[in-house]
Symmetry: C2
């Protein structure tokens, strides 16, 4: 049995990294690495990957990469957010050696407050800013453990796994790819990235390190695939500055600027330009406030304190001196920007001299909300700058096909596994890989829950399927909105609900009066009195067919449901949710 190393920071600092060419040591024909995607394979968010080292069929060590939140589909009515389903890990908690984060976006760190308590005390690591943003979330909970910030030249030892960091550019500083050495081979965990030659924070991707690991031979690379449909390379963040400046020159009123609240480099850039044009800056949105504060503390952002003004000063400031950094770039209904656009913000009103700069692309599934937001802003007569009309605002944080092919060429893995895209992005990534000479079988496309096993000599294959549910967060509840509740919500949303209260005398088992029918979301009640009266008759009739005492409640419920369902479908073409209530009186 291999000796397990738990993390030891002092030792790590001294340890040579893989880029110095040290080989990992002996491997064994009986060893295997399994990767279990709990989120992020076949979809964009909710990223969480479980790496398992097995020997002789037994799990020795588990490494977890990322722990993000997801956003609900349009059909997940009322659900605020989704977290990965970690039931698979519940009987393996003692094998978890580390949780490593790639970067500080919510779809990679946001699940931590909900999931960490379920995992037990796991050592957590991440690049400095990712660790800081994750810890901001932990501080709001009773959890006292923290994510340890890691330099890009440090290493995490986690049992049989050795994890090193490579800096990549993305839309948040300190984004990392992970090199995961195992007894079976090297894995390259290449989540969200682009190759920005001139990033705003002056810290370009460490391409030398990528080439070095490529030369050593990588068994499998997991690669961001979201931008695989776009030709060429994603442009540098720098050009966004020119667009913002142009808007600042044109604007005679307030300028509102929105981007992801974690994109602090872009916020820093906007602040610098606003300042240059003589404007004062206000932040509207709790997430922006918190992220900026933390980033200033860690010196990831820098600006004179007096360019920032508070709410009271903002009111006294002429419109053409205001620059508002506003949360809500994805058109989230409760965000500051949505409230401003819909005249529901307590402080900010839009008018036709104002300009709104939306410096973010809609994530898949949110296009409709973002387009509605743009329309609402336009209705105030304000100028809107957004990616469909301003090519240079259209700077994705994700690479395009060129970036992806460059990474794939540099790493040159035996197998490649596109992640972080919807299925069409994965398939398009496969076409790109085929253009680079990969055959179809070398591009593996498992989806969440499909357990891939890698051994030294056989090709990887799906060895198991883990059943995953959407763990939905609605209000204060975690997971109590399950499939049953959701299915009811969906039925009612589409067809309405009909509640039938049947009062039954306890002693005799007979109806004491006519059934009461209450509907919501079904028909306009005032215009449908006749329909509802007849529906009550249908129920009465169905129940009197059953002579004498009513004792079999199950049967009664079913009869009510069936008779009413048939009647209402015939009359209205709708199938509402029918809820029979037998009330013993």
């Amino acid at each position: 049995m291999k000796k397990m190393y738990l993390h030891n920071q002092a030792r790590n600092a001294a340890r040579r990294t893989i880029f110095e060419g040290k080989s990992f040591g002996s491997s064994s024909g009986k060893g295997a690495v399994r990767i279990v995607p709990l989120g992020g394979s076949g979809n964009v968010t909710k990223n969480m990957y479980v790496y398992e080292y097995r020997y002789d069929g037994k799990i020795r060590d588990i490494l977890i990469v990322d722990c993000g939140i997801g956003f609900p589909d349009a059909e997940m009515f009322g659900v605020d957010l989704i977290i990965p389903d970690v039931r698979y890990l519940m009987d393996k908690k003692d094998k978890i050696r580390a949780l490593v984060f790639t970067h500080g976006h919510d779809d990679h760190i946001g699940g931590l407050p909900y999931i960490y308590p379920k995992l037990g005390k796991v050592p957590m690591y991440g690049p400095t800013l990712a660790a800081a943003f994750a810890n901001l979330k932990l501080k709001e909970t009773p959890i006292r453990d923290r994510v340890r910030p890691m330099r890009f030249d440090s290493v995490v030892e986690a049992g049989a796994f050795r994890v090193s960091f490579i800096r990549l550019t993305h839309s948040i500083p300190d984004t990392s790819h992970l090199v995961i050495e195992t007894p079976v081979g090297i894995f390259y965990h290449g989540s969200d990235f682009k190759f920005d030659p001139t990033p705003l924070d002056d810290k370009p991707s460490e391409i030398g390190k990528i080439n070095a690991v490529g030369k050593r031979g990588v068994l499998c690379m997991l690669s961001d695939s979201l931008g695989s449909e776009r030709p060429g390379f994603t442009p540098s963040e720098q050009i966004i500055g020119e667009t913002i400046e142009k808007e600042l020159r044109l604007s005679h009123g307030k300028v509102l600027f929105t981007t992801q609240s974690s994109n602090i480099s872009r916020i820093q850039l906007a602040i610098e330009l606003a300042q240059k044009h003589g404007r004062k800056i206000a932040f509207l949105g709790r997430s922006i406030d918190k992220n900026v504060e933390e980033s200033v503390k860690l010196r990831y952002m820098k600006f004179p304190r007096d360019v920032i003004i508070n709410d009271r000063d903002l009111k006294r400031m002429p419109a053409n001196k205001q620059f508002l950094v506003v949360a809500g770039a994805q058109g989230q209904p409760s965000s500051n920007l949505s409230r401003i656009a819909n005249d529901a913000h307590k402080m900010i009103k839009l008018n036709d001299t104002d300009t709104v700069i939306i410096s973010a692309d809609p994530i898949p599934g949110r296009e409709n909300d973002v387009n509605k937001l743009i329309d609402q802003i336009y209705r105030h007569g304000a100028r809107v700058s957004y990616s469909d009309i301003m090519e240079d605002l259209h700077v994705s944080g994700h690479g395009s096909s060129g970036d992806m092919m460059l990474l794939l060429s540099a790493v040159g893995p035996k197998y490649v596994w596109p992640i972080g895209g919807t299925y069409k992005h994965l398939m398009q990534y496969r076409r790109l890989a085929e253009d680079l000479g990969y055959n179809k079988r070398s591009v593996i496309i498992p989806e969440d829950g499909e357990v891939m096993e890698f051994t030294e000599h056989a090709p990887p294959r799906v060895v198991d399927r883990v059943t995953l549910e959407h763990i939905m967060i609605d209000g204060l509840g975690i997971g109590d909105v399950g499939n049953v509740v959701l299915r009811d919500r969906q039925t009612i949303a589409l067809e309405g609900i009909v509640v039938v209260v049947v009062p039954i005398e306890e002693a005799t088992g007979r109806m004491t009066s006519a059934p009461e029918i209450i509907t919501r979301g079904f028909v306009y009640v005032k215009g449908s009195q006749q329909l509802l009266a007849r529906a009550a008759d249908v129920v009465s009739h169905a129940l009197t067919l059953k002579k004498g005492r009513i004792i079999d409640w199950q049967y009664v419920r079913k009869r009510i449901e069936e008779s009413l369902k048939e009647y209402l479908l015939k009359e209205t073409g709708r199938s509402p949710l029918i809820v029979p209530v037998i009330l013993e009186v």
Copy 2:
């Protein structure tokens, strides 16, 4: 008072059209034309425009252009489709002289079966294919009137209005712009179009007629604006053929082809190419069947009958000889293509040798559904060709900014009114018009319900606002799902419903037993028994505070609602719809 002409086809044929330069005759300083957009201004579908000629403040004549259906927003739960709200016309029916259609798309003709009965017997006109498709819809109803097919050189006289047709290219043959002469000036009704120099039906846009009317002087042009965000010109339909051929050459299995079911030229093209590659064709989808049948009858489509096969023959055909024209290009959940993609089609199963060609762009608001459809198809291993990755399938039926600027230059109206786009498209159209030298005030942007008045000498202005509701069609009901029903559906969809049944003894006005609490879509009931028991206590407690007989039911309902709402919000963070039911026993 002007003499009213009702349509007379024989007379029309003889009548000279405006392109011969005949002036319309005397106008009057007291005359005015009002345009009331009932649908299509500030949105893309549900097109319906009311033109009113007024003299001395009194309505003399009404001309209606188009009568389309709209598609529900994501929040309009359960609504199948929307039709324009025509209550405005109800006290003016005797003034309606004609209803003229521009082309045969559902968002221009589809409202007819629902709305025609409300208008009275109005003469209806449309280009040949538009009339044919509209009449297909009327044939399914008891309505016996029909739309009269018009040649492009004919004229409709409708009271003070004289309407001529100009052929334009679009994604359906026989698309027309209307020249509407009035005593106040000439209006150019330029709905959906693009300039396709090589259309599939060999009938290009009549640019000469456009220039001619421009020379006479147009007061106001209404113009399609949907493609205003795209640079350059929309490519010709011809290039789609090359893409289809390429897919046919690559495919070893079935080929499925989908486009709008009214785009019969594109369907004709696909059939010809499929035939050339030795495949047989089957149609899957009732709308395609009907449209193709009608088009063949009218000789808008032509192919040997034996290339079309029925279901039974299809089963015996090897996969690589099958070419299926399938309905459902917008990802509609109940369409044939969606059912095939989701393994719910009785006859067609997808596998990894198949190819699916999606030759249509998602209409605004349907992007998410189309993307999900693509993902589902890919999951079968099939090839998918769609616009984001195949530039040459991306041939919109709507012009791009170049097409729009060309039309605007040729017509050169005094005022221009962008239509058929969401607000952001209208604003972008305004930018284009400004580039052509129009000032901001000449580009008018009313939205649905805003009544624009045009007179000879004063600039147009909004003189009235008509309140419009979404008339929603759900199942068999027209309009009975109104705002109340919809708001209930929305609340329940997001938060669930809680029904509280309180049994009260009729004689004494006292509760006979504890309140019964039934929830749906709220919490997982089995895991929430304690919560629900305590909720019942809260209700009991709230009611016992009111001593003695309960007689004021309104008050009781309110108390139940308030106490329960507060309790549930505190415990769960949710605000379900609370329905108190007082049951007298």
